[in-house]
């Protein structure tokens, strides 16, 4: 009987290490990516709001040509902004349209984060369950030895 228990314990441990833990790591990585996207769009929204607030019509920027070599660029008309909406498309927006889009995008991102958080939580719960099972088996076998 003890051998069977030990086998079970070993199988549970393997399951945790080979299956559940990598799953957890992957889920966390995916969620971090979505967090980054969220941050990017948040920054963009702040910038656009700034532009609107200051009524900036044209602006001078430095463009990175690569390997940190910059060149001055002039934007004569800031009314129209092209935003990446995904799948390789960039849509020309006005400021208000852009802000609307960004808020919709943020909602979607929040939902994704929520899904990932639930997935991560379930994986963690499964890991805990298997650990408990192992502990029970070990305690029982420890009891048996006496």
């Amino acid at each position: 009987m003890d051998e069977i228990r030990e086998n079970k314990v070993q199988r549970f441990e393997e399951f945790i290490d080979c299956r559940l833990k990598p799953d957890l790591v992957r889920a966390i990585a995916e969620r971090d990516k979505v967090f980054e996207q969220q941050k990017i769009f948040l920054d963009l929204k702040r910038n656009i709001e700034n532009l609107e607030k200051n009524d900036v019509t044209s602006l001078r920027t430095l463009v990175n040509l690569g390997s940190e070599v910059y060149m001055q660029a002039d934007v004569p008309d800031t009314q129209h902004i092209f935003v990446d909406i995904g799948l390789g498309f960039h849509v020309e927006f006005t400021w208000s349209e852009a802000l609307e889009f960004i808020s919709k995008k943020e909602e979607r991102l929040d939902r994704q984060i929520e899904e990932y958080t639930q997935l991560i939580a379930s994986i963690k719960a499964q890991i805990k369950l298997v650990y408990e099972g192992i502990r029970e088996l070990l305690e029982l076998s420890a009891d048996r030895s006496y």
């Binding site: 602006l59 463009v63 910059y70 060149m71 660029a73 800031t78 129209h80 092209f82 935003v83 990446d84």
Partner: protein
Amino acid sequence: MENGVKGTVTPLASVFPVEGAQKAAKRVQETLANRQKELDYVHNFVVDNTNLVNLVQRLPDELSHDVMVPFGTVAFFPGRLIHTNEFLVLLGEGYYVERTSRQTIEILQRRGKVLQEQVDSLKATIEDLKIEASFFDTTAIEAAEGLVEIREDCVEESPLEERANQSGVSKSVGSFEDNTKDATEDEEYARMMARLDELEKVELAAESNDEDGDEDFCSSISPHAFDHHLSDEHQLMDSVQQTEDKRAINTTTEYPLQNIGLKQDFVKQSAQIEDLGVPLMPKEKPISVEKPLLSPGLRKKVDLSTASRTEVAEDKSTSYRSETGSNSSKAFTGSIVEHTHGLQTKSVGQTTTSQPSKPVSRFKMQKGGR
């Protein structure tokens, strides 16, 4: 092999365990893969740098360029690049500098040189790792095949005595020797050729396997700049051809034949030389390790060295000579030089000067000389 030879047979697998060699090979492979990745990474930098140089060169051609100016990572503004000859370059540590197009190109070219140096050093490292990996692979394969390393003690007395018995040389020199000489010469000749062939094969195999042995070999015989001789020895073994050293070898291989004729004297002298040679035995052992088949053949050279007893009595390196004489059983190089001198001094109809490398001619000359 001669009788009465003591030795040890060491399977290569015990020295280089098969699994250990394979694991080492794997580790080296992983390191090699890492270095390869780094090389690709740096190579990408080099490509980017080259592209940037081209771009910076082309930009000043126009007063302004219409571009999409990025605003963060996901948004663009339509705009224009202005001041097309002014570039702001990051030098590192938060230092920026405004440069013209040409100056920027110079900066980028200097950066490119640094990157190229990195690439070159990485490539050299990768090459070394490849060599190491191939060495481990061959070692693993050979250890798995069951290659053995044979070490033998160099026993000098018994063969000589055996020879004396075999050739039936009595204490009297003269016609008796001549009779036996011809009969045994052919046998010796055939035997020597066979031995040489075997030794060549062993040499080829030993070269790839026993690098350590080679080093020991060199270190043990190194004294008087015989290192080059030692390095040549392998070649000598492979093809007993001429260089001056090889000529000496040829001359030494002649000795067995000659010894047959001069046996009784040599038997007496051999004892002396062996005494001299004995202290040198420990040194010789690493040499003998590599070349098991050499030792029987080299034993003949021991006889030759006994022939060169006058050389031993001679000059600058008597111990050296004896060393080379005794080494002759193990290695050609030392004995080669010695024997040539000895041969000339001996000049018992021995053709030292006109030695072509080919044994055939030597033997012929011996016959002609006698």
